[in-house]
């Protein structure tokens, strides 16, 4: 990297890290929402019984 490796590689690593964080965070957000919805359905069902 012509003497610039200590600037280039941390930049690339950070950007890739942000991409990975976004995937993980979006999946977690959706999974939690799905869990809450499932619990709400289960509670409604138990109240009906």
């Amino acid at each position: 990297m012509g003497g610039y490796a200590r600037f280039v590689w941390p930049s690339i690593s950070l950007a890739i890290g942000v991409l990975i964080w976004n995937i993980w965070s979006a999946r977690r957000h959706h999974a939690r929402a799905l869990l809450r919805a499932t619990r709400a359905v289960a509670m409604a069902r138990s109240e009906e019984q």
Binding site: M1, G2, G3, Y4, A5, F7, V8, P10, S11, I12, L14, A15, V18, L19, W21, N22, I23, S25, A26, R27, H29, H30, R32, A33, L34, R36, A37, T38, A40, V41, A44
Partner: protein, 244 residues
Amino acid sequence: MWTWFYRLASPPHVYRTAAALTPWFYAVAAVLIGYGLVDGLVFAPRDYQQGDAFRIIYVHAPSAWLSLFAYTTMAVAGAIALIWRIKVGYAVAAAAAPIGASFTLSALVTGSLWGRPMWGTYWAWDPRLTSELILLFLYFGVISLRQAFEDPARGDRAAALLGVVGVVNVPIVHFSVTWWNSLHQGGTVMRLGKPEMPGSMLWPLLAMLAGFMFFFGAVLCMRVRGEVLNRERQSTWVREAVKS
């Protein structure tokens, strides 16, 4: 026409469309980002002035572009929700905020790492850098304001309003290098004339820009699904969707 518009923006339709689009967006993003990184880091020639340090552009420019695009998406979605009372607009605005904030942070840090060898400093109170920092604070403000209310509907409205007001900063960030004397280089791709870069450097950059946009589409779809589920979990269609 309005009936069609409201049907298109109905939570079940948005939820199912987002679910269908997500894998396609991820696939296209992976191809474009993979090609852009390999071509940009390995095959593109080094810059005659900046040497290999210029390669930071392949992650810095897409991050900065996305920071503005995500904010505009958030503000437009918030405005639609405020004006036409379309609830999905609040969900899209809430979903776009953390994504935009993360890419704004990425743009600031990668820009800082590029600035050190080029300008001799990690940070300068330059119009472009300062307005981008204000953009990050606006994102934090919108996210915090949404969570500051006990009533989620009031939080949504307040955050959407701040998002709409703050959109004035978007053209300031974009045109700051033209309007004021700036350490930051001027536009290289989005020029009225021909781009200043040769094709061997430009193509991987364009691929990265497009790849980041598709990536944004994918994570936005996934977050919107979560937001819609959170807001609609008492509704019949969510119960049916969860049961199946």
